[in-house]
Symmetry: D2
Amino acid sequence: MLRYFTAGESHGEALVAFLSGMPAGLKIDQAFLDRELWRRQQGYGRGGRMKIERDSAHILSGVRQGMTIGSPISIQLENRDWKNWQESLPVGEGDPAKHKRVASPRPGHADLAGALKYNFPEARYVLERASARESAARVALGAIAKLFLRELGIEVLSHVVATGNVTFAGQVPWEEIRALHDRQYGREDVLLNCADPEAEQHMKDEVDKVLKTGDSLGGVFEVVAHQVPPGLGTYVQWDERLDALLAAAVMSLQAVKAVEIGAGVTAAFAPGSAVHDEIGYAATSGFTAFSAPATMLEVLKAAYPMDRKSACAAI
Amino acid sequence: MLRYFTAGESHGEALVAFLSGMPAGLKIDQAFLDRELWRRQQGYGRGGRMKIERDSAHILSGVRQGMTIGSPISIQLENRDWKNWQESLPVGEGDPAKHKRVASPRPGHADLAGALKYNFPEARYVLERASARESAARVALGAIAKLFLRELGIEVLSHVVATGNVTFAGQVPWEEIRALHDRQYGREDVLLNCADPEAEQHMKDEVDKVLKTGDSLGGVFEVVAHQVPPGLGTYVQWDERLDALLAAAVMSLQAVKAVEIGAGVTAAFAPGSAVHDEIGYAATSGFTAFSAPATMLEVLKAAYPMDRKSACAAI
Amino acid sequence: MLRYFTAGESHGEALVAFLSGMPAGLKIDQAFLDRELWRRQQGYGRGGRMKIERDSAHILSGVRQGMTIGSPISIQLENRDWKNWQESLPVGEGDPAKHKRVASPRPGHADLAGALKYNFPEARYVLERASARESAARVALGAIAKLFLRELGIEVLSHVVATGNVTFAGQVPWEEIRALHDRQYGREDVLLNCADPEAEQHMKDEVDKVLKTGDSLGGVFEVVAHQVPPGLGTYVQWDERLDALLAAAVMSLQAVKAVEIGAGVTAAFAPGSAVHDEIGYAATSGFTAFSAPATMLEVLKAAYPMDRKSACAAI
Amino acid sequence: MLRYFTAGESHGEALVAFLSGMPAGLKIDQAFLDRELWRRQQGYGRGGRMKIERDSAHILSGVRQGMTIGSPISIQLENRDWKNWQESLPVGEGDPAKHKRVASPRPGHADLAGALKYNFPEARYVLERASARESAARVALGAIAKLFLRELGIEVLSHVVATGNVTFAGQVPWEEIRALHDRQYGREDVLLNCADPEAEQHMKDEVDKVLKTGDSLGGVFEVVAHQVPPGLGTYVQWDERLDALLAAAVMSLQAVKAVEIGAGVTAAFAPGSAVHDEIGYAATSGFTAFSAPATMLEVLKAAYPMDRKSACAAI
């Protein structure tokens, strides 16, 4: 039903986000969009650019009187740094001498493959689009999707499970994830988004240590969707399966190199009896899928240090 | 370029595989297709049905004189068990009393969600399509895709990395994976597809032990594509990224609940310096991406017992 | 929501029709499917093959106990002539000397363009797939779509408006189109599907005359959808517009080279005041779009001999 | 390969055009884009708005140093009238009393159907997106497509064949269409784009006459693609056929209600012998498809006053 795309380069004039298929009549909360964009810009240890940009969603179409009207939504995110790049990255023909070459392809990025694919002598134009700056446009659209889901009583939140060797292994109940987000709301200082304050402090220490050496750090975050009705997606065709669609969406994010549904990774090292929830039924309460018993967690922890997560990212 | 779909139920008359977009002039090796179908049916510990089916790809269209002709390829895989199900699962109206209900939704399957989605009073029709039997149709199409890739010098093979607690942690060079497949070619006994004979024996023992208790076992397999040119997929749009497309394809397989690219999971717990391959360049040999040094493997093994894999499956 | 594809060649073993997305619980009337396939095979002046084939929809999947079950529907249409072509058009490698070349590309067909595209030395393989025989698979799927629309109170019928120079210019009310189809139901003789018996006789005479000379004849048919609710498709994006989707579906039929919505062709030669229906509103009856007054028809007839039609086909 | 979409409303801040899949390295001629946008704004008898807008393609992404770089191209077309509509059509919540209702749905437009579909109490928001102003975004993208085709030696031009009752029936050779466009290049006065100056004067007179009465006029234009290689599109699947794709693209334009390929409409009233080009072959010149002999035209003219055209538009 929904189709979405993004355009725009890291140091160009603007990013553009495009979304079609959103029903008419959805209330658009501009402050929520901008808050989500701000959240993307935070992150313990992020570079200085975040302070320059402070994104705001400039809605060009599809919204009137604060409501969607059925027509495609397009959003522009200005690159505030553009003024410093107009001479070296002009849209029209400019002075080639001012071009800032990226001659050493960076490992862990699309630089080399992209330059080979599009036949560029260096990696500047690849970097401009492959950069995770692009994800800002997706965040703006994701914020609209969240507003839509709210109308259906569904909420999607996330939290950090690991940074490098520091892992917070406990299962985090929905209420705690909810509370974590409420706690952060309106704050301007840089957070790490871990549900456990003590673990968060360890994570920050780990980040501080690594950054001093000029290195970076991998990490794991979990995305939880609350109150999702059963039956989204379908088993009838491979490309309509919810697992496949979710995996593609998450894996399309820059730097994400692994994704699991529920306890996917640990489940691979366990017997079926430890992995599958028992399904119960009672006339009064309908179907219930009980959580696996505590003993399963013990089994899994021996093989793998986490009990659930949804995406593994090497930042 | 290629579009593919499957149809067919587990105990219906046949599975149907559909593929459009394959160029004309590709030689189709029927024996290879059937060999791949046979490989899918093997697997240490598989149930008795595998002995009934012995699939063969019955090509209905798109191939003439052993060559593709540009038009859509359709393949029928007969369900040999169909004769035993015609009365309980007829296409036309039959005797409802002969319907075999599946009243207890099985955990770890689509039974409950599917019955709720399509409003069935029990899970028979869900089971029929959600079953991994469907993957036989994908194997037939995958075999054609492999024949196509061969023309481009690309080969795709796989091997088992873990079953339950038994993990073969070493990096397996391409030549060994190749040798593993040559070794198995033409054999009729049931294999486990691990590159290391000793580890394979441990895996078999593990399977034997678990099956005796009526339980099942998770596992991990790695798919390796050899001689792939850089630049497939692209960073320019989220839904064209190779990682996303691969993740969706693998995650759409029944029972797969996690997927990683390269060392995706372990990379999440490591610093960037241990994860990224160094890119070298020499006028004579062009670009080279060196494998990470041995020390990285040591770092990773401490956090996680495997050094690379591509898909984690809870069977 | 619905995705459909066909496979199969004109003288291969079978055609295959594939449809995904049809909701579960739709009653499938096998006799209606076969009746629709029979209708496709009729047509005043059709060749002898129609007598050989007498298609029947062999449903392989997606239907159980006479109802759709949500999983993809696949249908096989046997080519009864296949036994006569197995040696000259084998799927596997056969005797190349038995291949029946089509050395002269036929005008008005895809022969030449197809052979150039797929790099064939002659047009046999193009003819096999480009042939209008393929439309039989679409008719089977269309019959299912009609059964689905019936559940929504929508009916889609058609009639012939012109063959060559013989045109039946009057507007045909829905009731007459309905009556035409009722009249034909169950008959086995070859009809021409014109709503006016006298005009139909003239059309048959025209066909008789032309066939004697070894020539063929163009024609026009109108497809009418009855009780369609307003708001299908949408103006919000070019590729979601109903006009565009309908035009593509009709124009994708072999030999169709023009398509109009309503009085599209004649409207091109008329002032807006003669083309647009006046929209009325009353509290009791809601909106009404009145038909244009008779004088408009007079204006249009002067410029063009028909007052409405939906597709123009050169058979 | 190419995906394109548009966003934006008629009296909103801007239209946005989105194009992905264009190869890197294509030279983008900004003056050509703006010239094409100017051409769209002309047209004998167009209203006053055209003088306000004078569109210019503001490229936001995908182009650097005057060349495409592989990443998605996004273009903004400012609505210069926006300043006059900010209060009545604000993106955020504004004063509802300033909303300019469109209470009478206009015949021949999407007003009524759109308001019913999206559940609006009046048609303002439908009008804003359904308006043909949207096509400006498509023109900007079409200009880029034309630049791409030029690299392959293909050119696409158009001319007006009929306005109301005035029809220019002769076949117009490519050279004359080419000359027509050269003649117009750089001119600022309003043209009608008919290849024959005398017929053009008659057309203008017809337009003048009708406009005085407050009415509008239908018309026919022909689009000709020059030097197209055979084999674009394919007969192998219904939704990949070139005829279907072209018909959808043309029919998706506001006000277009009929489309034909070649002499599609007239062919419907003619015998096959008069419609099909004879295909010739000579070792030196390869295949040739001769134009139909003059006698065919005579036959067709009797039935229908034009000999070829590609789209019939009721303006």
